[in-house]
């Protein structure tokens, strides 16, 4: 059977070939194969249920009892191999109604959903937001992510990077629509927890109440586990609370969503450090059945430069931001230099500015375009007056007594190192300078603080100092101990920690119920399929991503008030309507091919279909050439492209967008429906040299034949034999 394709699809093809070619001559073998084919087809179409695999197993067992000819033996072996080697894939098709390879087109998930590390069903919740159903949208999001409001404000939005609409103009503002829906659902008192399963008597200890720990706790609580979260800080949220500054993520937002999780019965023990205030042995004594570690990466790297340890005002960004989060409102200095080029550097700089620093400079070793920080964050920082010193390598912190006077630096150039095309910053001889400063903040990265983890002595650590896990199950090498988040990946993102926490909850449940763990990470689950929203092609193309209203710069420089003020309701509903519904149209391009190559019309201008080479897309142009023949719709497996007849019109619609509508014509003689005028003109043009153009009468084939038969009879009467 074919490699690197979906095993469900290749099994289906294999069986069809076997059955259709007639090589299965034994009637019992044929019956078994036909039954299996039907079941596999249903799996591929996403229509299968829990009974499908057991039914296939039964049929295979029956197959074993037959003593067939050589061809049948080969077939049996091939099927046996497919169902054993790829069982997980069959099961995942049934459970998730998804095909990761897109071979089973009907159930392929959308690119935005695939891109989300937590696998949120984006098109479904966008459709709900477009319909004004915010609370329902939040319920869909929380099936995969218990912190929609938090993520709506700070997610790094990989979904938007993969959004197909981005290949036409700009990606859907997926992140912010989530925040809007969460806020609206809360204010409507409609943001509710799902009903948890009854308590199952098992206990899980979660270490760390960051997004990873909170997500794992949430999904375990929903499954009926008693969850005790151990948190060393006086509040929950982890880096959400002590890393990300309040002007990006108000504390209110974190507190509200954490409270929802606590409402499910999750107990959080604050001010408690695992390995110190509470031990592994104590937790085992209390009857803990499994552990989940999500302690994040909270230790800062040293810069390794002279003077680093000599001055009290050399501060690590992480410690600085944490103190500010804990209520410290003192400016780190008047002239602050931040060293680093990532988002943490930007957060530290903007926070320093808000605390009253007069001049804030970010010194980064590489060029602006190589900065890993989010471009929008960089732009906002620049607006607020933060300066950037690029290609700047710090060499020494200078001072007088214990007061810093400046940061000595070398100007750098980017040079490719031997054997690699990676450009590395190299100091230019003689080009050194001093940036005047009285405080230096280092933001060059974090690593995992493993103190307190000694009791987990069978856990393996990677050479990066992170916890080694099997990524499909988040299991560590110590039985019953699972881990996720920054402690596993190194400094990463909120949504990855959430995705890992959710996966770990599932794995802990399997572990405690003796269910085997999956071999590869689960693919996202499509939660629902919402109806399409109808609109004209010109509206679909005209809709544009709204711009974000921002707090004015004066307030931004002095307060921690939220900078992004959000969209208004009308903008939100419109933005959600801009979605292309890639959960339905999977961009196989068959419609374009049929229209262009088979019909010779080339009416579909869908240049966004190609991921690597998108060209211009314009839905509005279809109506200029399309003849509503319906060839594209007839070839669309997913019913994304449909021909619909309504109010005397024949419409061609792609995921709800009306690409073309033409008047339905009727036969003058019998009233039967006819193709559109454009279609008839197209046909008569094509056949002009073989058939004489008919007179101008509108007749269906039947009436046309009757008429021509009469003409035939009257012009050349048949002689009586």
């Amino acid at each position: 059977m074919a490699q690197n394709t979906c095993p469900v699809q290749s099994t289906l093809q294999y069986l069809s070939e076997r059955i259709d070619s007639g090589v299965l001559t034994d009637p019992r073998v044929r019956r078994i194969c036909e039954s299996i084919r039907m079941l596999v087809e249903e799996i591929s179409l996403g229509e299968a249920g829990d009974g499908h695999m057991p039914a296939i197993d039964e049929l295979m067992a029956e197959f074993e009892t037959i003593n067939p000819n050589e061809t049948a033996v080969k077939t049996r072996q091939a099927l046996n191999q497919a169902f054993t080697e790829h069982r997980e894939m069959f099961v995942s098709h049934i459970e998730s109604r998804n095909c990761p390879t897109h071979d089973c087109g009907v159930i392929a998930p959308s690119p935005c959903q695939m891109a989300c590390p937590a696998g949120i069903d984006v098109p479904t919740y966008l459709a709900l937001i477009a319909e004004g159903k915010d609370a329902e949208a939040i319920a869909v999001i929380r099936e995969d992510n218990p912190l929609p409001w938090v993520c709506g404000l700070v997610c790094t939005r990989p979904c938007e990077m993969m959004c197909v609409r981005g290949r036409i103009d700009t990606p859907i503002s997926i992140k912010f629509l989530k925040a809007f829906a969460a806020e609206r659902a809360l204010s409507d008192r409609q943001y509710k927890n799902p009903e948890p399963a009854p308590p199952n008597g098992k206990k899980v200890c979660v270490v760390g109440a960051g997004p990873g720990g909170l997500s794992c706790a949430y999904y375990l609580a929903l499954m009926g586990y008693a969850v005790n979260v151990i948190e060393s800080l006086p509040f929950a949220g982890g880096m959400l609370m002590v890393g990300i500054p309040r002007y990006r993520l108000p504390r209110e937002v974190i507190d509200r969503e954490v409270a929802m999780i606590e409402d499910l019965g999750v107990k959080i023990s604050f001010n408690t450090r695992f390995g110190m205030d509470v031990t592994y042995e104590q937790m085992i004594e209390q009857g803990t059945d499994a552990f989940f570690i999500a302690i994040g990466a909270h230790k800062a790297w040293d810069m390794g430069i002279k003077g680093e340890t000599d001055f009290p005002r050399v501060i690590e960004a992480i410690a600085f931001l944490k103190n500010v989060a804990l209520g410290d409102r003192h400016a780190p200095g008047k002239r602050v230099v931040i060293i680093g080029g990532g988002n943490v550097a930007i957060d530290a700089a903007r926070t320093s500015l808000r605390l009253g620093a007069e001049k804030v400079t970010i010194a980064y070793r590489r060029s602006r375009e190589q900065m890993p920080a989010d471009i929008e964050e960089v732009e906002q920082a620049e607006e607020e007056g933060i300066e950037f010193a690029f290609l700047t390598i710090p060499t020494e912190i200078r001072g007088d007594g214990d007061v810093i006077t400046g940061l000595a630096c070398n100007k750098a150039e980017l040079i490719a190192k031997k054997g690699t095309d990676r450009l590395a910053p190299v100091p230019i001889l003689g080009k050194d300078f001093v940036i005047p400063a009285d405080a230096v903040i280092s933001a060059i990265g974090q690593y995992v603080d493993d103190s307190g983890m000694t009791a987990f002595d069978k856990i393996r650590w990677t050479r990066r100092g992170t916890i080694e896990v099997n990524h499909a199950s988040m299991e560590t090498s110590m039985p019953g101990v699972f881990a996720a988040g920054d402690a596993v990946s190194g400094p990463a993102t909120v949504i990855e920690a959430i995705g890992g926490g959710k996966r770990a909850a599932d794995a802990i449940h399997r572990y405690l119920n003796h269910i085997p763990q999956p071999r590869m990470p689960k693919i996202p689950v499509r939660r629902h399929k919402r109806p399409m929203i109808e609109m004209t092609a010109s509206e679909k193309m005209r809709l544009t991503r709204p711009s974000m209203s921002m707090l004015n710069v004066d307030r931004r420089r002095t307060t921690f008030q939220q900078v992004e003020l959000g969209y208004d309701e009308e903008a939100v509903r419109k933005e959600a309507r801009r979605c292309l519904r890639c959960d339905v149209c999977r961009r196989c391009g068959k419609c374009v091919e049929v229209c262009r190559d088979k019909m010779g019309i080339d009416a579909l201008h869908l240049g966004y279909l190609d991921f690597d080479h998108p060209v211009k897309t314009d839905f509005r142009l279809t109506s200029e050439k399309c003849i509503t023949c319906g060839a594209c719709a007839a070839n669309c497996e997913n019913n994304a492209m449909v021909i619909e007849e309504r109010d005397g019109k024949r419409m061609l619609k792609l995921c709800g967008t009306i690409l073309n509508e033409q008047d339905i014509q009727h036969c003058e003689a019998c009233g039967a429906k006819l193709p559109s005028a454009q279609y008839m003109a197209f046909i008569s043009d094509k056949t002009a040299d073989v058939t004489k153009k008919s007179d101008q009468r509108l007749l269906c084939n039947h009436c046309q034949r009757k008429l021509s038969a009469r003409i035939h009879v009257s012009t050349r009467p048949v002689k009586n034999q």
Binding site: G341, G490, K616
Partner: protein
């Protein structure tokens, strides 16, 4: 090679890094977009977040990736 947010990349080989797991062999040949480069120090040893077309979003070692272009996901 420096990977930036939005760089289009290809998984062109298996990685020699310990973070590479057997199921990732299925990723070879896949195209995708860098969604989160190493967030502070541009260290070739760091894992970076890549969203692979049809294969989900994963943190991968950089030695299995090559940049196709740096169009930042814009349509041409």
């Amino acid at each position: 090679m420096v990977f930036r947010r939005g760089s289009r990349v290809e998984v062109f080989q298996a990685s020699s890094d310990e973070a590479w797991e057997p199921y990732m062999n299925d990723f070879i040949g896949a195209h995708g977009v860098v969604t989160d480069p190493d967030t502070s120090i541009n260290d070739p040893d760091d894992l970076i977040e890549v969203s692979l077309q049809g294969k989900g979003t994963h943190r991968l070692p950089q030695d299995c990736l090559r940049v196709l272009d740096d169009r930042q996901g814009e349509p041409s």
